[in-house]
Symmetry: C2
Subunit: 252 residues, 2 copies
């Protein structure tokens, strides 16, 4: 069943109204008919099976048939802070990160980011990212869509007090014995906590950034024994977090 993420204001007590691209998609792409069913997601994570009752040129009106009790969210809230990478890698990171359960994405211009954040193009870019995330959320049946936070200096991000745990993927950890096993760190995180996972751009973190991170209590972790590309690192982290909290603890 096709899933749509519907803004809060479009929900009534017994009805939901789909507008714009969703209305177009349901009529023109999916070619659905009166009486067909879809799933509508409320921004608070609740979902409902709905029956199509009325089409108009502007919108589609559906009746709420059954509230769903489903949960496809990671037990911990993971924000991926991604140092701006080259090319279209962000598209990839947002799509795959959404599938793998990220709660939010935060961008930052790292010392070694070749690409700078173009504030003139920011609005257009953010719209594009939202679209990618919306489509990925619908496909993988997320309860809530991850949000994208615009570029902010790394210092502000880690000093924001928003996070219970701050980790960063650090290649150098792969080269020496260390006390910080990724698993050891994850084992200390409780359900419902906020985790910030910081990933460097191509070329990794600068020495200054590593000092800044460590001085602010961010913990360096190794993401396996191989050296991952920047766009693969967040996926490794998210898959491992899912494995740790959803599969490993599944039977225990």
């Amino acid at each position: 069943m096709q899933r749509y993420y519907i803004p809060k204001d479009n929900w009534e007590k017994e009805f939901v109204v789909l507008t714009d691209e969703d209305a177009h998609h349901i009529q023109r792409v999916m070619r659905q008919q009166i009486g067909d069913t879809i799933i509508c997601n409320h921004p608070d994570g609740q979902a409902a099976i709905c029956i199509i009752e009325q089409f108009s040129t502007e919108d589609v009106r559906v009746r709420i048939k059954e509230r769903l009790d489903e949960d496809s969210e990671l037990p911990v809230h993971v924000t991926i802070a991604q140092g701006l990478p080259k090319g279209s890698k962000l598209d990839f990171i947002f799509q795959k990160g959404t599938e793998l359960g990220a709660a939010a994405f935060q961008l930052f211009e790292a010392d070694r980011s070749v690409v700078k954040w173009d504030t003139k193009k920011a609005e257009k870019r953010m719209k594009r990212y939202d679209k990618i995330i919306k489509e990925a959320s619908e496909q993988c049946h997320r309860n809530v869509m991850p949000i994208v936070k615009e570029q902010q200096p790394l210092e502000e991000i880690i000093e924001s007090n928003m996070y219970d745990h701050i980790l960063f993927g650090y290649e150098e950890e792969a080269r020496r014995e260390t006390n910080h096993s990724f698993a050891d760190v994850l084992s200390q995180i409780k359900n419902g906590q906020q985790l910030l996972m910081i990933i460097g751009p191509e070329g990794g973190f600068s020495d200054q950034e590593v000092i800044l991170l460590k001085n602010n209590g961010a913990i360096p972790v190794r993401l396996g024994k191989r050296i991952l590309r920047t766009e693969t690192a967040s996926l490794y982290a998210l898959a491992s977090i899912s494995y740790h909290f959803e599969e490993l603890k599944y039977e225990n």
Copy 2:
């Protein structure tokens, strides 16, 4: 330091000879000079730091300076059997799967594969895949390059007796209570064993395939709570296997 995977026949006692694309890359792309160092990998997984001693129009001759004692391979040998997906997804799966430690990739035409294996184009395609894997291996410093096995019927693959454990990612497992936790299965796998991880194409496995798999002792596993695209499933599996064997067991 740039890394090259050199065929067995090009190794002498104290020297290695780089030919063809490697010779081109070292001279024209990297613009390296006599006396510069590179890393050469032998197909058996051994690597050595080598000093460039001689250029010719055909090849580059390097002297073995120091044998390296490095290991970036997963403790278990993972073969990803991938149901043929659409478009360029195989390129993506091979590149990311190499980074994440796959030992081999095996293709199969699944019941729901929209794309069929074109034997006429097979040679050209396999060359393309080898190139992607070679480049990814060099970038992430793999000891050995994963191999790609051409299309083979699923039945032959699972009846080959090559594998100690056969798993398949099965979406339906995500929808019901199950005794097969992915973590539970991984906990029974020992270092050095051969693991076959089978991933369906878009649309997943057919009922017949699921019966065939189960009848042959393949174990269905859930890959997290969300529904992953076919090209994301193998990455989730590999990242989780790396996490389980390289990070989780790191301190225990």
